[in-house]
Amino acid sequence: MLQVRDKLAPFAPKLGVVAAVIVVVTLLVLTVSLARDVLCQIRDLSAANSDNAQWNLSQSEVEHLRLQSAVSQALQGGSLEPVRLHFDIFYNWVFTLHDSSLFSGLRESNHGVDGLGKIQDLLITFVPIVDGPDEQLRGHLSELEADLAVNGHEVRAMTLAGLVANALGADSKREAVAATLRRLGWVVVALFSALALTAWKIGRLYRHGRVLTAASNAAAARMQAMVTSSLDAILMVDVKGRIIAFNGAAESIFGFSRDEAIGKKLVDLIVPDHLRSGYLDAMTRYRSTGDTKGVERGRVRLEAKRKSGEIFPVELSITLSRSGKDAIFVSYLRDISDRIAAETELTRARDDALAGEHAKANLLTVMSHEMRTPLSGVLGSMDLLGATPLTKEQTGYLHAMRVSGEILLHHVNEVLDLSQLEAGVRLEPPQNFDLAELMSGLVDSQQATARAAGNTLDLRCRLDKTSIVRGRPRKIQQALLNLIGNALKFTRNGSVVVELDRQGNGDQVQILIRDTGAGIGADDLERIFEDFVTLDASYGRAREGTGLGLAITRRIVDALEGQIEVESKLGEGSLFRVSLPLPDAQTDLARQPRSEVGANSPKAILVVEDNDINRVLMTTTLQRMGHQVTAAAGGAEAVAAAAAGQFDLILMDISMPKVDGIEAYRRIRAQNLAEGVDIVALTAHVAADDHARILDTGFAEVATKPINRSELSDLISRHTSAGMAADPQPVTSDIG
């Protein structure tokens, strides 16, 4: 509708004007023709082919009387000449009445015709007498007088008839004139109306035009204000590339004043040299083909040039504004130097943060190696020292040293665990184990700690039928130990209860650790599982320890695809709920032969370790466990030893000078020196990459140093031939 109107709009006024002109011209023609008509009629009225008909008629009566008078005077002896003169005059009048068109009305009325006829008859009768000799005329004078007297009535009647007829004729003429005048009046009224309508229309157009002009001015003023106050530079460029508008923002961005910019070529002013050809190509294409694709490309990032010659990044949007044949490119242009700088800053910050992460990982790697290696030496030495005869006092000191050493090792391990879990070190392979046995061992190992703080520690196991499940016992043990250890740590003279039950018939096993200890504030509940938060949180730092325990626990549970939740009330205690997928594995385990052979079964073990202290410690430890040990101080020596003797297991350090553990492994395997013998890597490296690389080489397992006796015992059990299976003793924690 609007479109249609818009399309018609240019024609509508023209049609209207044409119609109005036609109407006015028609009315004018009508008016002129009617006016001419009226003028003719008025002239006819004034000229009125009448020649004073009334006067003529009455004159004929006058002339009749004069003739009568002349005859009377002649009868009384007067001259005959007046009789003849007035006879002729009267005769002339009467015959004029008879001939003239003026008196057609008279002649058409019965009275008129009769009267006129009689008078004419009389006159014709007397013509010979009047023209005759005087005597004859005088002889007929009395007769003439008598006839004239009789005819006086006829003349009178004829005059009256003529008057009536003329009056009628005048009436009809007046009517005609009146009708014409009325018509003229209507036409004039119509003409006036048309003119009035036209004037009104013109007035309306004028007012409409003024309103439009005002609106247009207002819009222009608003537009001007918008352009002026815009924070973005606004440039308008004509099709020849000349700048025709340049707002204040443009002035401040480009450094050119408005007067400097207007009329200049855009390309010479702000287009950097390297974009020049592209810009000119786009403009040329537009001019030759009208194709605006090269110009109107939405928001684009380009570069522009300031007056100083500085090139800076801009965000640009160009729109082509067409108005009739003219076209103007309107460009909105934003200086995004600051944004780019901010983005760069942000990228750098992110890179810095990533670098920091790398540094941390590197630090951990270094820590793991450089701290654990000497720690292995300390702890191993203490083990050996404990086996020597000591005084009671010395035993007490040694115990203190061992406790401190193990706490230190525990802290280091926690940090390393976290980084390992973070790095996604692959977990031990799942295996079947007795969950109830594992839990009771765990609880038993903590009983001493519980008693020391006046706590009771109970295990309530509600597993149905069987307690053999499939899962990763070492990780489960680590996670639960953390939770139980925490519960005991924050409880004094209270109770800690560990409950174990299977959820229905499913694979989920729920483990609850409930204490009556200090509890955790609601504000902290959300935070206790977060990474590192506990490092500086009161919960973690209130007691001894790194405070990473719960973070590690959460990561372990996550890695085991379980869930951990906590409920707690400050001062009333806490409840940790761990759900783990641990499917029933009764049948699987039943098939596995249970080893009855203890750790005492002696094995031939090759220990490869470049660190002298650790090598001696490891050798001594293994010998005390009853094994037969051969030690090699490097990769080359290891290969030689493997070639020289038969072993049940090879424990290989990885980081060694010259021939490292991996190279030694390859050589042994390449020469088939230890067929069917597991080679276990023993390393202080904990990084996931390292472990993966070592396992890819072919090592049976990667054990992390320092390694305590029980771990070592397990390790030997796992990797020596059947009958050497590990004694399923509960693993005792090195720390309380």
């Binding site: 002239r43 082919n49 002339n92």
Partner: protein
């Protein structure tokens, strides 16, 4: 004519005989028209008498026209008022036309133009009798111009003309 010339002409006319015949004064033919030219003072008037021959001696004008007093196209022959006034040396003033029945009407000399009114002495190629609007009749060529079809012109169409008095301008 300029006023001073009129004064001069009047002074000259005052010296001339009062009545002058246009042609042979001794003729038996009746005098059809008397033209009196009044001087400025109105006392020393000059009268010129015209017989039919005198009128016919002047340039003859002939035309055909309808009139409101007759039926059908009429043919008139006569002398134009313009020729008559020129003959008499009259250039301005007013002609007072008088009929036999004392009908009097005034006509401006300026109206006496060639192609305009004539003093007709023949109607349809025959002399006119007194019973038929004669012997002289002021006739306009009514058909030639609508301006000659007004009541005023019709009133000036004097028939049975016997006398013309020329009144000077400033009278």
């Amino acid at each position: 004519m300029k006023p001073w010339k009129s004064v001069l002409a009047a002074a000259l006319f005052a010296l001339l005989p009062v009545i002058s015949g246009a042609t042979d004064p001794g003729s038996d033919a009746p005098i059809l028209l008397e033209v009196e030219v009044q001087s400025i003072a109105g006392q020393q008037a000059e009268v010129t008498l015209f017989r039919l021959a005198d009128l016919k001696a002047l340039p003859v004008v002939r035309f055909e026209t309808n009139t409101i007093w007759t039926q059908g196209v009429q043919r008139f022959t006569g002398v134009s008022l313009a020729a008559l006034t020129r003959h008499l040396g009259i250039t301005d003033g007013t002609l007072v036309l008088q009929a036999v029945n004392d009908y009097i009407v005034k006509f401006p000399v300026s109206g006496a133009v060639e192609g305009g009114p004539i003093i007709a002495y023949e109607h349809n190629d025959a002399p006119m009798s007194r019973r038929n609007k004669g012997p002289l009749w002021i006739v306009f060529p009514y058909d030639s111009d609508r301006d000659y079809q007004t009541a005023e012109i019709f009133a000036m169409s004097v028939w049975q003309l016997i006398r013309i008095t020329v009144e000077p301008v400033n009278q």
